[in-house]
Structure formats: C-alpha cells, structure tokens
Symmetry: C2
Subunit: 308 residues, 2 copies
C-alpha cells in the first residue's frame, strides 16, 4: 500500500498521527510544505516539515502542536537578554536541529536529503519530502503591504486581512526527488486538514506536483480544515471567506478543483452541493485527542474506499 500525504504543519501532523495508528507508517510518503520556511537568527527553520517530523518521531509537543515536548528555551532567553531576534519561539532541542540543517544547507546538501537523514536519525519509518529543494516562500499581501509568511503569522499574529497569497519562487521550483514517482505509484492520496492557501497551496504551487496530482490514478481525499466555516485554530476560515467568497466544504473542494476526488467535511456544515466530480462525506472531523485523530483518519480512509 502506497499512501501519499500532502501535509501542512499542526493540522497535518495531527491527521498523520491518526493515520499511522491505522496503517503502517512505512507505507506513507509525506510531502511537506516549505512555503513557511524562515531564516531566524541565521538558522533555516522549516516549521511545517519539523512539526511533521517531530510528530511522527513521537517527540512533538502534543499540546501546542508544534515544537518539541519537554523543551527548554535557554538559548532564546539569552538571545532576548542580548537584544537579539527573539520573536520566533525556538526551543533548545529545536535549535539543535536547525543548526545541523543550516550547516548542511551551507555545505550544499539538499533540504530533502537533510530531511531524510533527520527522519532516519529520529526513527521515523516513512519518507518525509519537502515539496521542493528550490527556494519557495509564501508571502501575504495585505493592502499595499507584503509580509513574509512567518512575519505575518507569528510576529503580526495574522491580524492583517489577506488580499492575496503569493508563492515567491514557485514558478521556478521543481518537485523534490521522489515526489512525482510517489504520486504516480500511490494507491491513496490525502490532503491534510491544513490551511489551503498557506500550507497546501504552496505545495500545489509547484507545477510538477500539481500536474502529477492532476494525472493521478489513485483517489485523492482532502480533509476540510474548517468546522462550521472556521478553523480550530488559525486564519483559514477568514482567508477562505475573503479570498474565495465562502468557507464551506464546496469552497474548499473548489479550491482543490481537479486535484481531489473526495472531500471529508464536518457534519456541522450540513448537506452541501459540491463541484462536479467531487464526492463528499460528512463526519465529526474534530481531531480531539488520539481518538479524534484516529476517527478522522478512519473517515478519510472510508472516503477513499468510496472511490476505489
């Protein structure tokens, strides 16, 4: 069984943790978002990739959803005292990883090779592949201003209304090695309940990935990140509303038009008319605790079965 999962950060990792309670982790190929990668203190930080990595390795902070469990913050406390760049919440173990990654990148090792080495070191059985090894960065346009994603999301706490999302570098970006083949060989494809614009859109902005997905032979199931038109956390609801004119299952399905066969959405969102060619299944999609994550993954597998 080959399963490809296009994943964002926190929501994606939660879905994945449910999924690996049902299928063999080694069957998965996770394609991760790099649009929110950010240079912090000279370190190359890949928040979404790392959230997936930490979660699959069982070392993630389950409560926050990002970063590592039992993390100390001594380095960042010192950075603050010295007047350094302290807006991005880096823990000490997390910094250890960023140091190694940044050094390897400077030595010319690709992000995908680094990520693969990390997941092996942390005992993760499945492939985790960044969408691209090329530079691709999501930026947020709000009125006349343009913010790098993390500046808008973390430093400005996504308070500026979004007029456009741009994937800088996407047109020149190639899929990282292995992604297209994994999609071709897939028996199942999932899109995690993540922000369509800032977590998944930046993956689909890579031409080779989008076109591989369009040519897919396996069913692709997207899990809606919205319940009652709102994300459990984060700005996905407002963004869908403002940029797509709605935040219902149909709007999500339209956003993924041509790339998905099934959308799993919350029963709270009622009966909906979906775009042609997209099957809907409604369920309780709140990923509350282990049970909730497992339930959502089960529903997604059921959704795939309706097509296969």
């Amino acid at each position: 069984m080959n399963i490809v999962v296009l994943s964002g950060g926190v929501g994606g990792a939660r879905f994945l943790s449910g999924l690996i309670s049902l299928v063999d982790c080694a069957d998965l190929t996770v394609v991760g978002n790099v649009g929110d990668d950010q240079e912090v203190l000279g370190l190359h930080v890949s928040p979404d990739l790392d959230t997936v990595l930490y979660t699959l390795a069982g070392v993630a902070d389950g409560e926050k959803g990002w970063g590592r469990a039992d993390e100390t913050r001594e380095a960042l406390a010192t950075v603050s005292i010295l007047g350094g760049e302290d807006w991005f919440g880096l823990g000490d173990r997390d910094i250890g990883l960023h140091l190694v990654r940044t050094q390897l990148l400077h030595q010319g090792v690709s992000l995908s090779d680094i990520t693969d080495s990390f997941r092996r070191s942390l005992g993760v059985a499945c492939a985790i592949i960044p969408a691209t090894n090329d530079r691709l960065r999501t930026s947020i346009r709000s009125g006349a201003e343009v913010f790098p994603f993390q500046e808008w999301f973390v430093a400005r706490q996504h308070r500026d209304p979004v007029d456009a999302v741009e994937y800088v570098g996407a047109s020149a970006a190639s899929p990282a090695p292995g992604i297209e083949k994994a999609i071709e060989a897939a028996d199942l494809i999932f899109i995690t309940p993540s922000n369509p614009f800032t977590s998944i859109g930046s993956i689909l902005a890579v031409d080779g990935i989008r076109s591989a997905l369009m040519r897919r032979t396996a069913p692709c199931v997207a899990v809606s990140p919205l319940i009652g038109g709102r994300a459990v956390k984060g700005p996905a609801g407002e963004m869908m509303q403002r940029l797509c004119g709605g935040a219902g299952p149909a709007d999500i399905a339209s956003f993924y038009a041509g790339a998905i066969d099934v959308i799993l959405y919350d029963s709270l969102d009622g009966a909906v008319e979906l775009p042609q060619g997209v099957h809907g299944i409604a369920d309780d999609i709140l990923m509350d605790g282990e049970t909730g994550r497992r339930r959502v993954a089960e529903a997604a597998l059921r959704g795939a079965a309706t097509i296969a």
Copy 2:
C-alpha cells in the same frame, strides 16, 4: 586609575575575578584573545572573550572555568542524535549568545561592537575589547601537520607535540578600536597567567598592540601561568619547554621581552636569574578559589608598585 589587562581565557578570567575584588571593575580595559575563535555549527564562537565576559558578568561556570553556570545542553544533544558537529561543548545559553553574535557579524557589525553590546547587556562595567576585528587565527604545527587551534586543543586534546605556533592573519590585523589609546592612557598593565603562545602571543602578534605595549609609560606585570614548570591545566609547560627550551620564570620573562617590567612567579620556582630590566616577585600564585585569586591579584598590584 586606568588598568589594561591582556587576557586569555580561563586563567585570565580567574585573575580578573581576583582583580575586580580589589579595584573598580570600571577602571579596567580587558584586551581579549581571538586567536582561538572557531566556527562551530556555523556559529562564530569566541571562547576566550566569552570566558572573560561570563566571568565578569558573574554567570560563568566557576568549576570548569569556561562556559556558563547551570547550563543545559539540549541543543547539542540533538545535534549528536542528528549526526551533526558535536565535538565542541556548547551549552544552550552559550549558543544563544553565539547565534546573536554570528547574525550581527553577518550583518557587518564588528566583533568589538558586538562584544561591547554584550558586556553592557550582561551588566559588565569594564570594556572588553577583542584584540582585533580582523581575522586572526592561531594554528598549531606538529611535524608535517597544521591544526586550527581548537581542533588541536579540544578535538585532539592537545596530544600532538607543538613544533610551531602560527598566527594566521596577524600581519594584516589592526588592533580593535580603543586598544592603543587604552595602553597609552594606562596607569597599570597586566598580562594574565595564560598560555604565552596560544592566549597572549596571539594578542601580541597584532603589530599595533605589541608596539603600543613597547612604548608604554605604565608598568606592565606578567603573571606566570606555570608553577614548578607546569600549568595548572593545559599544555603551556610542555610548549614552553619544547619551544623555548625551558619553563621557568626566566623563560616566560624572555618570551615577553620588552613588553613587561615585572614577572610574578611562584615561590616554588625558587630564585631565578631574570632577563635584564625585568623585576621578579615570587609568591604563591595558585589561584585556588576566591582567596587565591585575590591573593594573586594583590601580588600583581604589589609587583606593579615596585616599579611605579
């Protein structure tokens, strides 16, 4: 009272901690060694400068003599797990400082401005100035091999016998701003009990510093780093023996010929014939604990008084 102190790392910091129990810290200008600076994990580490900084700020690890007290090592533990560069013992708070320094250096801020900002942030009253803002690195020649200082000292635990010490970049290096003026305006100058080759020699290798010292009007007192021909810790004794043919007070005084007026050495080393122009004073120079450090600083001040 203006006091200039040419200082190495651990021994230098211990001497300084004794000295500031006797004189106002604000009266000091510490000129620090950068010959042992090292890039580790992409970070610019300045071990000797930081040992001085941490000691004067009261946050040093008193036992080890280097690094910070109550330090955690979570980042480095992660680096090890991921197969990264873990040979150099960096603590988490220490890494916080290196991150800020490295980022500022990349932004074009000088090492001396960075060091000054750090000492202010950490509440250190006296100036701490790196010998130079230019690139100057000590390397160790052993037979046909040449090692960067820290590789020889830390990674190889200084096991290779030293045939020569080279200060790469010294001939093109200028003293950092303020050093020459501080030496000219000094009422007293000290050379700390540090390795003459690897801690002080790399400072004196900067022409502007050596010549300012040669022109001094203030008495300069060197404290021997050797007791009974051996350093309390480190390879200074063996190096003096091999490279200067002896490890007694006269050998140290000859090494500093022209730059010092007084040498403070241990009573254990007995009566010695010193080079012309150098006065000797013998005392117990073991810096054991607070009392010992204070005693040595007192003896050094007494030594200066014999000239002034």
